[in-house]
Symmetry: C2
Subunit: 398 residues, 2 copies
Amino acid sequence: MRKISGSVTAPKGFLAAGIKSGIKENKLDLGLIFSKVPALAAGVFTRNEIKAAPVEICREYLKDGRAQAVIVNSGNANCLTGQKGFNQAVDITKHLSARLAIRTEDVLIASTGVIGKPFPADKIIAAIPELVNKLSRAGDITVAKAIMTTDLVLKKIAVSIKIGGWNVKIGGIAKGSGMIHPNMATMLCFLTTDACIELSALRKALRDAVNESFNAITVDGDMSTNDTVSILANSLAGNPRIKPGTKHYRIFYDALKYVASYLAKEIAKDGEGASKFVEVEVIGAKSRSDAQKIADRITNSNLVKTAIAGEDPNVGRIASAAGAAGVRFDADKLEVYLSGLKIMGQGKIYDQARAQARRLLQNQAIKITVNLNAGKGAATKWTCDLTEGYIKINAAYN
Amino acid sequence: MRKISGSVTAPKGFLAAGIKSGIKENKLDLGLIFSKVPALAAGVFTRNEIKAAPVEICREYLKDGRAQAVIVNSGNANCLTGQKGFNQAVDITKHLSARLAIRTEDVLIASTGVIGKPFPADKIIAAIPELVNKLSRAGDITVAKAIMTTDLVLKKIAVSIKIGGWNVKIGGIAKGSGMIHPNMATMLCFLTTDACIELSALRKALRDAVNESFNAITVDGDMSTNDTVSILANSLAGNPRIKPGTKHYRIFYDALKYVASYLAKEIAKDGEGASKFVEVEVIGAKSRSDAQKIADRITNSNLVKTAIAGEDPNVGRIASAAGAAGVRFDADKLEVYLSGLKIMGQGKIYDQARAQARRLLQNQAIKITVNLNAGKGAATKWTCDLTEGYIKINAAYN
């Protein structure tokens, strides 16, 4: 596997475009990804009980396992907009499919932005001709920009792998920032590949890759109504069809997981107001589930995250968060490491390690390791620190 | 029931003192509450797996259901201080009991402050003579000050009730601020009463009152290693002994719950950096447990709490937090009210209510009501907003 330039248009047969439709004031806010031929498709969506209209529509349209286009807007989530918002989103897929001369059910749709404001479908429908006209391989940059909300950094990647001698490519773009939580929150990710792959293999690969990547990140513990990760696989690479459980599947899955993990980490690094990237690794738990609960609790602790923002080696907050996860463990066996430095064990904090810990906290990337010394369960989560910048963004956002 | 002046020394036979022992620089940091006669006693403690030494000791000492004194320090939590810290805390109870001429097991101990720093037991032991000498009825103010850490407001209350013609009093002080969560976090509360009551009734009343009060508040979702609520009941009111399940028990319990709820709300109002008090009421859930999960999720949502800080009527964040609680519900039946104003229902946000909602958010106290319209389960939680002040306090705290 090697990284290559580009993103969603790196695989064969994909085009993209991003334009200003007027939802936002003079900013890119509408994007399109298009495969020249019908593609197999799969999606993973938010588990929030409140689901935005586009999420409901994608779940319905993806039942047949195929799609050919993805239209996405920022600036309005089309969520809690009632039957009207749902009908508007369906209308958009109808207009776009007519313009592209494809089936309506082959148009996926996604939205991100404020919840509960009337959805400006008219602006989007009016912009469809321009959007389609601008489709190009170079449009991967503008579509990636069009999905950004409070993101500061454009998130994109592409990789190339060999499947039975054929070159297969996978590309992706994502947006994240606030509200990122293990259950994928206000997070959109669009993946493309020219791989030829069985639908069951594509669906499994996407589900597993999301669990190992986007579901491992948290910015503020909130989970959005619009989270969407989708993949289109158009077979144009010409490789022998990838079947589940094979060596070729493993190569494809590893590459997809790499792409998803890369984008997930980019999202955590770019969390609202974030100044530091934090990896929390829990090992030695009785089960993976126990390890996940503790990693969740630490990555969602405001006290841990403000301590890291302040470069304050407040190990007690890490231990206390671990202890509050609802998992039974022996406090005397608990060990905590900060970027490799042992700072707690045998029921006490190593106060003498405080000065060195403080120096380690000056780094941009921090790793916290918690060892329960009780078994082989392990989990890793990624997050960012909690700064005044987060409050500024979220108290003023309208 | 009526509110009276004073706090822990309002009930008969109680004295208190707070002094500067030198743990903090020139601040009250050591306190004592003392009953002239041995009292029945009960305690409720943190459920964090990491428990501070004083918590372990109190649990042991309270097995016999009696106590006569409570010593408490701020400035150091005596947590994750290993066997040494445990032994130091025991030493303090020995020195104090000798000075007071009472049993060692009748001394309760509590600590609050930074975790994992060596515990300055020598300073406390050296200060015991002065602490005991200063015991007085007026000492309830200094002991309440001695337990404050980042608290801005002194939290105290006393009430008087009639039990079978006799005047019975209940008093209490508390400290809270950061880390307050449903499972009682870095929160200390000391209650006193001159009621004559059976031990089983006292224990049940305290447990239930804590569940309805301190376990209903959250500031930042973290749960501390030192949380302690204790009560001493010294029988000096002379009332007929209160037995479980009686009318007298109900009168006593209601008053105790009032005292605990008052102190809990004071803690939520004084959350670190808080500018607003927020009550979240969930009704119409299938079960109380469902309602609690949703109320927890909303009170712990950074996005909801920053929106309130910014006086931004971002109803979508409330609905989204409700939907992320892991409770199944019908989004179309969900109704959300902001301080009585209906702002969401029938699957959509009432955008036209936004201006009025914005005005309501300018108040100091905000009430959010969520109705699932699915049953009779209900729960109420209290919290505060999330401001830049919280970050400032917690990123810089050392």
